[in-house]
Every structure is written in structure tokens, then in C-alpha cells.
Symmetry: C2
Subunit: 643 residues, 2 copies
């Protein structure tokens, strides 16, 4: 058949808003025709005109720009099934049609609403936002299985055959847990079932009749806080966000004490059960907020630091506690939720765990990489995620370097006299001028010296960003020296060896909030550790400056980059190029939940990471000692203004 003959028999189809165009055979359904042009429409019912997911809006008239005349009679008239659907759902068939039920009889211009696209996109809003296609590991399909006949095949093979025939899904296996569920599900609705399939490979849920429910949970297991996003896996929408204190805290505040606690088998069991029960609680809580049943959740993505990773998996983390910090596994894992002990969610649900990078660089940092890597700009980008340790990623020219710096929890407010987490009531901004001290707390836009007489901000403590600003201001004001010590003459605001930020009558607890010499020392140690790690990676790349800095985590969201640079927490960089990217680990977990190709992508990316073990590098100690001092002040010391 020559090209001309072929074309003369086929019809032009133009899809808006993309403008894609192509020729399709007469009689092709709009569902198939759009697919031929590379646009996948949503469809659950498989063309049975019941789900209404594939709605399209034909436009009629002459379109000179496209050199095409689209007419109503170029589409097949609505048949009984489509008319019934339109009546039931109030659809105006002159404006919208079911693509599965409408066939092409001539040239047509078609508008495809976003809601009908099978591969929805979610925009990740952050530095250099990028889009993520919604392409989850789970899919649901509706299928009708012919009844059992005497001497015929068993029910599961007939369901398999129906899935192959109606959806081209082949070689599917069955979660053995469902063996007992196949027959009741098939009998309940005359052979009509909705089947949930994992990775195009395994049937994990069978429900009678037509069902649309498809939900997943992305969880970032922090040492202190567990945070979960409950997502609609069909739209990518976040339906609920739930956080919970990590119940393991009662067995040990920090990771090292939890590793010690796990040395006893009973302790290990308690830590494991605590996190598993908490994950169940998170799922149940998020489902309640979203108005779902928790057992509607069929997919889970977990990220966390290596200790949380091992404890959740029931692996004793004892070896992470000493050299050479060996992990049991650093590979991505696919498990059944029930094998992990999860009970609240669906019994066939799956759990995907992101890979780890090194002994102290866990799946949470892999998630940060997954969230940030696709939007990196040219040049050198430094990504810092500060929790109890600081995980550092340095990306340039296709290389990714990683290190973990033992900053300790000072930036999170721990081990600071009046330190606290970044939460409402915490002092987050501090200014020291000739007129005295002023500050701001989280949750209030006013400065402490802008209040009416007799009112105060009633601070509860001071969080990481507040401490950093306090140290920078004390240094700029000459109250402390480069070595961090209070200068003898300036020691006046407060008792000896401390500096008063908020007097007792202003604070929530009725206790003065001060910065002590010990606090300044803790910040110096933490910032020196972080800086030394960054320097080590810069050395490895042979560079002296970075072009972009991304600060991940809660700490990164509150910190003022100028102050961070002033105390030497981060290397010098154009302040406009320092951005807070929020909970990048949680975002990465959500990306992996919504798109299974991204799970594979991060597995490959992680193995490209060049990990630099700070403990093994002699220069780390040198850099650390050098960085204990505060940087030399520039000639002019004007910082920030109103912050």
C-alpha cells in the first residue's frame, strides 16, 4: 500500500492543547486513536462505558490554522450505553463524549481535559521545580470473567486469561494470600472484579464489582518525627499529611543510644515493634483525615536514616554503631506490608524502601537526591540536609559526592541550654544593636520591640536559626571573639558567661532565655563538623566555591543564609543562590510513591554516588579544627537589616 493510498483512507485527528496530530483508520475509537497518537487516556472500566474516565471534548468548525474541518458527523452517534451513562451522570453529549464509545468517521479536532489524561503530572514546588508523572507501582483494572464451566479451567487461570485478553496484562502472578479470595470475589458480582496489580506483575487485591480506590502512603521515618503523606495514586494528590513522634524516643533519644538498646534481643524487638505500630498508627490517622479506611492503602514507600531503616526491617543496627559502620543491606527493597508486620493497611499492600548510600547516609538522603537531582542547575550545587547528622551532597558535572558530618543535634536545638525544635514560640531571629536585643518567634510576624507596652512574645526557647543568628550577632557586635569566647569587657548582658536574649518576665516559662558559652561552643563544634565535611567534598572535586546551595529539612527552612555564611556554617555563595527546599526527603518518598520509574532511577543514581567517609580522611580533623573559629569579619559589618 503506498503512502498516498493509506492517507486517503484515513482521517486527520488533532489533539488539543498539545497540538499533536496524526492519521487514524476509520472506525477507530477515540480511546485507541489518542493512544496511537501517544496520548494515554484514563480508563478503568476497559471501554465498558461505566467509569467515565475517558471524557473528551470534540470541537467542531473550520480551523484554518490546522487546515482542518471538524464536523459533528465525523464522530459516531452516541449508542445506547453512552446515552445511558450521559443520562445517569448529566453529561451533555454535544459537548463531551466517552472516548471509548466514540468512533472516528472523519477529521476531528479533540480537546483532551487534564482530568482524562492517564499519566497525570504533579509539580514539585521547590528550587528549580520539576514535574513528576503519576505512574504508580499499583494499577487497578476492572475485568469481567466468564463463569466457570464443567471441565473447564480453574478460576484464577480464567481471571488471568481475562486480564490478558481485556487488558493485555500477561504472566501475572497472584499473591498467594489471595488464593482463598478469588472465588468469593468472582461470585459476588457475577464474575466482575476490580483487580489491583503491582508493577504489572502480581495481583495483590481482588474486589467484587467496579472499584476506584487506589491509595498510597509515603513515610519519612526520622529519629524524632515520623511524617506521612497519604496520596491518591490516580491523581497524585496529597489527601492527608500526618506526623507522629517516633515512639522509639522512649528507648533512646539519639541513634547511638538506640543502637545500644538494640544490643539486647528484647530491646531490638521493642524498637522494631514500636516503629511498625507507629507506621500502622500513621496510616490509620492519615486515612481518617482523608475519610478513607486504612485498608484502602495498598502501597507504601519508606525512607529513613540507616538506623531507622534497619530497625523498621527488624535488622539489628549494632554494626552501624562501630567501624566500619557496615549495613546489612543498602539495596532498595520490595516487601509485602504484612511480612513487615503492618496490620492497618491492606493485607496485600506492598512496601518499597529506597536504597541507602552508606553507613550513615540512609534512604532519607537517597530521597533528598531523588527530589533535588532532576532540577539541578549548571555549576556546582551543594545540598545539605541537617538532622542529627548533616548529610552533604555535592553535585557537579555529572558527579555526585556524598558525606555525613557528625554535627550532633545542636542545630535542632538539642544540647543548647534553652534550645528547642523549630516550632511555634521558638526564637528564630535575633538582632543585637546598641539599643539592645530584639528577637522574633515562630508564628508571630512582629519583633519583640514592636509590641505594645506590657505585652511580650512569650518565647518558649530558641531554635537552631535563632542560635545561629545570636552567635553571628554576638560576634559582629564584638561581644564574642573569633574563638567564640565572651570578650571580658563586653560580658554584661546577663550573668557571667552568658548572654540574655529574653528576660524571665517576657518568656513563656517565666525563666530567662540566655545563650551560654557552652551553647556557643556547641554551635562552633557543629558548624565546624559540617564545614569540614563540605570542604572535604570540595577538595575531592578540586573546587574552591559552590554556585548553589540547597538547604533541606526544617532547619534549612528557617535559617537565614547570610547568617549561616557569617558564622561559616556554609561556604560563601551568592545569597540569591541559597534556597530552602523544605522536607526534601519526604518529597522524594512521595515521588517514589507516585512514580515507579523514579524508584529505579534513584537505585541507579545512588550507585553513582561517590561516598567520602569523613572518619577515614585525615584532613577532616584538620579542617574541623580550622573551622572551629568564626570567619574573619569583613571590613563593613552590615548584615540583614530587618531580616
Amino acid at each position: 500500500m503506498s503512502g498516498f493510498e493509506a492517507n486517503s483512507h484515513r482521517h486527520q485527528l488533532i489533539l488539543m492543547p498539545s497540538g499533536r496530530r496524526g492519521l487514524v483508520e476509520p472506525g477507530t475509537s477515540l480511546l485507541d486513536a489518542t493512544r496511537q497518537l501517544g496520548v494515554e487516556l484514563e480508563s478503568i472500566c476497559g471501554g465498558r462505558q461505566t467509569c467515565g474516565k475517558c471524557l473528551v471534548a470534540p470541537e467542531f468548525g473550520h480551523f484554518p490554522k490546522h487546515n482542518l474541518t471538524s464536523k459533528a458527523e465525523h464522530l459516531s452517534a452516541p449508542a445506547a450505553g453512552e446515552q445511558a451513562y450521559a443520562r445517569k451522570h448529566g453529561l451533555d453529549l454535544s459537548r463531551e463524549r466517552l472516548a471509548c464509545a466514540t468512533h472516528i468517521q472523519g477529521d476531528v479536532l479533540l480537546h483532551i481535559p487534564d482530568s482524562s489524561l492517564a499519566r497525570k503530572q504533579v509539580i514539585r514546588k521547590a528550587a528549580g521545580s520539576h514535574t513528576v508523572e503519576v505512574r504508580p507501582a499499583m494499577q487497578i483494572v476492572y475485568v469481567e470473567v466468564p463463569p466457570a464451566v464443567l471441565g473447564g479451567r480453574a478460576d484464577w487461570p480464567r481471571l488471568q486469561a481475562a486480564l490478558a485478553e481485556q487488558w493485555d496484562l500477561r504472566n501475572l502472578s497472584l499473591d498467594h494470600h489471595l488464593l482463598a479470595a478469588v472465588q468469593p470475589a468472582l461470585r459476588a458480582a457475577g464474575g466482575a472484579v476490580t483487580v489491583t496489580i503491582w508493577q504489572g506483575r502480581e495481583v495483590v487485591r481482588i474486589e467484587p464489582g467496579y472499584v476506584e480506590s487506589l491509595y498510597g502512603l509515603a513515610v519519612d521515618m526520622g529519629s524524632t518525627t515520623l511524617a506521612a503523606h497519604l496520596c491518591d495514586l490516580r491523581t497524585g494528590e496529597v489527601l492527608a499529611t500526618e506526623t507522629l513522634m517516633n515512639p522509639q524516643v522512649r528507648y533512646g533519644e539519639d541513634l547511638i543510644s538506640r543502637i545500644s538498646y538494640a544490643a539486647d534481643p528484647q530491646g531490638m524487638k521493642r524498637l522494631h515493634h514500636a516503629i511498625i505500630r507507629a507506621l500502622d498508627d500513621l496510616a490509620a490517622g492519615a486515612a481518617q483525615v482523608a475519610g478513607l479506611a486504612a485498608h484502602e492503602i495498598t502501597d507504601v514507600v519508606l525512607v529513613g536514616n540507616t538506623v531507622m531503616h534497619h530497625l523498621a526491617l527488624g535488622i539489628n543496627p549494632v554494626e552501624i554503631g562501630h567501624l566500619p559502620f557496615a549495613l546489612a543491606t543498602d539495596e532498595a527493597l520490595d516487601l509485602r506490608a504484612r511480612d513487615l508486620g503492618l496490620k492497618a493497611i491492606h493485607s496485600g499492600a506492598r512496601v518499597h524502601i529506597l536504597p541507602c548510600i552508606a553507613g550513615y547516609v540512609g534512604a532519607d538522603n537517597a530521597a533528598v537526591l531523588l527530589a533535588e537531582y532532576p532540577s539541578l542547575s549548571d555549576g556546582v550545587t551543594l545540598i545539605i540536609d541537617i538532622g542529627t547528622n548533616a548529610e552533604i551532597l555535592l553535585c557537579a558535572a555529572g558527579r555526585i559526592l556524598s558525606a555525613s558530618s557528625p554535627t550532633g543535634p545542636a542545630f535542632e536545638g538539642a544540647q543548647i541550654t534553652h534550645g528547642q525544635r523549630a516550632a511555634a514560640g521558638a526564637i528564630e531571629r535575633v538582632r543585637i544593636t546598641a539599643q539592645g536585643v530584639r528577637y522574633k518567634v515562630i508564628g508571630d510576624a512582629r519583633w519583640s520591640d514592636e509590641l505594645p507596652e506590657g505585652e511580650s512574645l512569650r518565647p518558649t526557647g530558641i531554635c537552631g536559626s535563632g542560635i545561629i543568628e545570636a552567635v553571628a550577632e554576638l560576634y559582629t557586635a564584638g561581644i564574642i571573639g573569633r574563638d567564640g569566647r565572651f570578650q571580658p569587657l563586653q560580658d554584661g548582658n546577663g550573668r557571667p558567661g552568658e548572654f540574655l536574649i529574653a528576660p524571665s518576665q517576657d518568656s513563656a516559662a517565666g525563666q530567662a532565655i540566655v545563650i551560654t558559652q557552652k551553647d556557643i561552643r556547641a554551635i562552633q563544634l557543629a558548624k565546624a563538623a559540617l564545614y569540614a565535611g563540605v570542604r572535604l567534598l570540595m577538595d575531592r572535586l578540586g573546587i574552591e566555591a559552590v554556585d548553589h546551595i540547597r538547604l533541606a529539612g526544617a532547619f534549612g527552612s528557617y535559617i537565614d543564609p547570610l547568617y549561616a555564611m557569617r558564622i561559616g556554617l556554609i561556604p560563601d555563595c551568592d545569597p540569591d543562590q541559597v534556597t530552602a527546599v523544605g522536607n526534601a526527603a519526604g518529597d522524594g518518598a512521595r515521588i517514589a510513591l507516585l512514580n515507579s520509574e523514579q524508584r529505579r532511577a534513584i537505585q541507579h543514581l545512588v550507585r553513582r554516588v561517590e561516598y567520602v567517609e569523613t572518619a577515614a580522611e585525615a584532613r577532616f580533623q584538620d579542617y574541623f579544627v580550622d573551622a572551629l573559629h568564626l570567619p574573619e569579619l569583613p571590613a563593613l559589618t552590615t548584615i540583614g537589616g530587618e531580616g
Copy 2:
């Protein structure tokens, strides 16, 4: 490189007793060289000269027949490792060498002892015996993993890499249950572990150091009896055979009553738990007999009728109880033993379940086919497995026809007044002559009329073969007619409507053992059902006679083919071509346990079976009614003699 040049540098190697020969590169180890010639030697330690599995016996001298001179100096001298092994194990290195440690330096003739062959063969002794290669689904390999290093990969990926490097085993996954076991196992013996691998795909067991244990269990789950063979998966040897009464009997003697019992969810749960606990007990019992720990069992093959199959899997068999007898699944299944609830065996053990053929033709019949099909002779072969139902296979010209006949349990002695299973004490042979009745019991070689005065065989009852002989003899003697009724004039031996076989003073229970009119009727119904099923399949093939008959199961082992033909139980056939094949279902299970390729083979074979549903065939009823009568007696009625 020309052929001549290549050959001039290589050495001749001849392997006896196979006589295989070939050229190998100088310096090749005998382990590699034999492999190049297609002979796989056993090796667990991977050439570390510790397991001694690869022993070979070089023979030196001139071998004119082979045109080869084999000299001692054509092999490398024993090095320190091999010498150490020889000292420790009393090996004479002038006669035997470790193939892994010995290298070729000239032409050699090598004798390979059977015990060194990796693929051992087990001969199945039965009609047309055939050999089965020992090639189990599980393999064990010893591997040494280098220690963890700072900044290096985690332990599981390093173990993976070592398995790939040392054994060419790639893309292995890990049973997630072992995640917590990897590090302790690696640390316990300096990185040396023995790993058990399922189907070359998944690591299911990791043990510190060097271990040889590899055991499996093949189980035939009968409605009444559970029978298990514990096998050494490296040699194929049966180490123990254990049987157990099916504990489900207490919830229902026959399958239909168990299906009724399962209608209640609690009943279903009880039936499932009963069979699972019994499987654990079987494993523990067999292991004890073999002197092993039950947790050394890592592989299990299960066969059974469809109801047992479903109950073991926790699937409610309710649909097997009514038309169209739909199974939940008829496919072969691979499960983890722990997911099935098994606790006695290894926690990483696997369970393979053979496929089913139809609603009433289960995995046990697939096992019969697996055991018998490879040894079929030319012509038409009928295979009958008689349990509570009779499963019939008719094989001819590459076609396999199958049917299930509802014989009921009469052939097993049930529903017979003094019936019992074929066991010691049961009357198995009966003769009726002018002199009176004589009989034999299982476990005694003497006839009842050969005993000293005052002694008796003390029969406990009468088993299937005894009843059939009794009926045949009653008929031949004219005591019953073609319709099975006692002839009025002959009704004399015993009370009216019964025939005395053993008087009360001779029996074990002190109660006369008789055959009643009801018993004869039960045998007529059973044999008519069986015959009708066979006829139906013969019709389907368009044949009037069969060439070979194989009788499987306990019943088949005791029955005299001539008597079976006399009452019309089986079609006429040359008596020499009627053979008892014993517990073919158990044999098939053992074949599947020892050879994983046979598991695939039976999956394909089963789908070729043409199943004929007797319930759907109108002619079945006609044949059944016709077959209720006993066959016409031939002119001369001499049967058996001494039997």
C-alpha cells in the same frame, strides 16, 4: 589459530566409564576440564580442597584402544592443600585426586566414580523403570566473603558479589526474612558461609562456615493417610518414610463431609490447621527417624486430591462440592513454607505444589502422570489410581485422556460389612471350591487350610482385593448370578443373604467374617462406575481394547489382575500387561522434589491432558447401568490356582 596448532598445544582427556574424550588447555584443573567435556562433578567448597566431593581416579599406562598414554607426570603434583586433605581423610593420592586441585600437564585417562557426579540419578523401579536425574530446586554453595570496609558496600551486596564471582550465580535475591541473619552469619566464621539457593534465584538460608545439609520432603496428602518421604537432595536417597492418619478424618470421613464441614468458617479453619499441623508432625517424625533436625528440611513437594489441595492452601473447597466443581486454581504453586503456616521445617523452606487436572482430578493424579508417563510403552496404556474416587488416565499416540469415576470407597474396604484397609491381618485372597472356603491374610504366606490343627490366621477383616476375589469366586462357583444376587439354592454358607468366609472362632475379633448381599452390591456399583469411566475414555479415543494397564495405589498392589478382569473391574487385557505400580502419586511427588525440571515438565504435560467430565456425559449413565452386571463367564472357568 588453525585446528592443528590448537590441538598440538592441548592435551587429550578421556573420561571413563562414559568414554567421553576431548582436548583441554594445559594447566586446566580436572574440575574445569571434566566440565568442558560435559561431565559436571560435585563441588560444594568451590575448589577450596575441603569438601572432597570431586574425587577422581586417574589411570596410568598405555591404552591402545584409546590410542593414549596416560602418565603420572601428566598431572600436577599434589600441593600443600591437597596433601593436607589427604592426610586428614586417609586419601591415597596415588589412586585418587581432588579434581579441583589437580591440573593437566599431558594426556590423561580418568575414571569418574558415580559418587563424584554432580547429577546423580535415581532409578524409579516400576513397570518400565526410568531414571530421574537428581537436580533439585535447592542448591548449596560455600562462599567466602571479604570483610566489610569503611565506605564500602553493605554485607548483602558483598555476599551477592561473592556468589557471582565464585559461583557465577547472578541476580540472586534474598528472602527478606534473612535480612537480619546476613551479618551474624558472615561474622560467625570470618565471612565464610554456606548459602542455600532456590531455583538459582533466591537465597533462602545462610549458615556460618561449611555445611552439607540439604534435605527435602515429598508428601502425598491422601484423604485418609498422609505419607512423606524425607530425601537427601544431594544423593536422591530416601532417608525416612513416615505415614500419619489424616487428622481431618475426625471432621469428616470422606471428602464430601469435609466440604460440608468447611462451609462454616470455623470448620474451614480447623481443617486447614489440622493438615498443616500434621505436615509439621510428618516432617518432625521423618527427621527424627533419619537422625536430622526438622529445620534442616528446606524444600517440600505436596500432592493430594483437589479437596486436600484446597484445604492445605486455606482455600475453602465449597465449590468443588457442587457443579461445575470449580477449583480456585489448578496451577502449580511455589510458596514459602512459613506462609503456609509450617513451623517445624526451616523458616526459609519452600513448598512446591503440583498442578491439578480438573475438579476431581488433583495434584496427586498429576504426580501419577509424572511418575508413569516417561516409561510408557507403545500402544494404549490405561492407568488407574483407586482411592475414594478412581482417577483414570488413558494414554495413546501422544494423547492423554483423564476422567474421575465416583467409585466410592468400597475398594478401600469402606462401606463393606467387614471391610478394612489393606493392612496386616486383612483377608486379601479368597478361594471357593467344592471343599469349602480358603483364604490368605496380608502378612502371612500360608492359606487358611494349610495351618496346624487348632491354629487360625486370625483375620481382622477383608480388604479390597479379598472382596473382589470373593465376589469373583462366588460368581464362578454359581453362588451368585450375573446380577450379583445370591442364587436361592446356593444360599447356604452362612445366614440368609450372606456368605461365610471365616467363622467366628477363627477371626481376631471372635466375630464371623462374611460377605453380604449389600457388600456385593457395593462392589458392583464401584466396579460399574470405574468401568463406565474407562469406557468413556476408550470411546473418546475410538478404541475397543487397551494394551497395558497400570494399577496405582495400595489397592492396585494387592489386586490380582485376573480377578479384576473376571468381575469386569478393568477391561480385558493380556494379564502379563497388567502391573501394579505402587504409590505412583508418592513417587511423582518424590520425582518433583528431586528434579525441578520435572516440575516444569508436569506443568506442561498436565495442560495437554484432555479431561472428560463423566457427570456431563450422557453415555456414562448407560455404561454404568450396563456394567452393574458381572461379565458373562467364559466356557472354561479356571482362574488363578494358588493365586
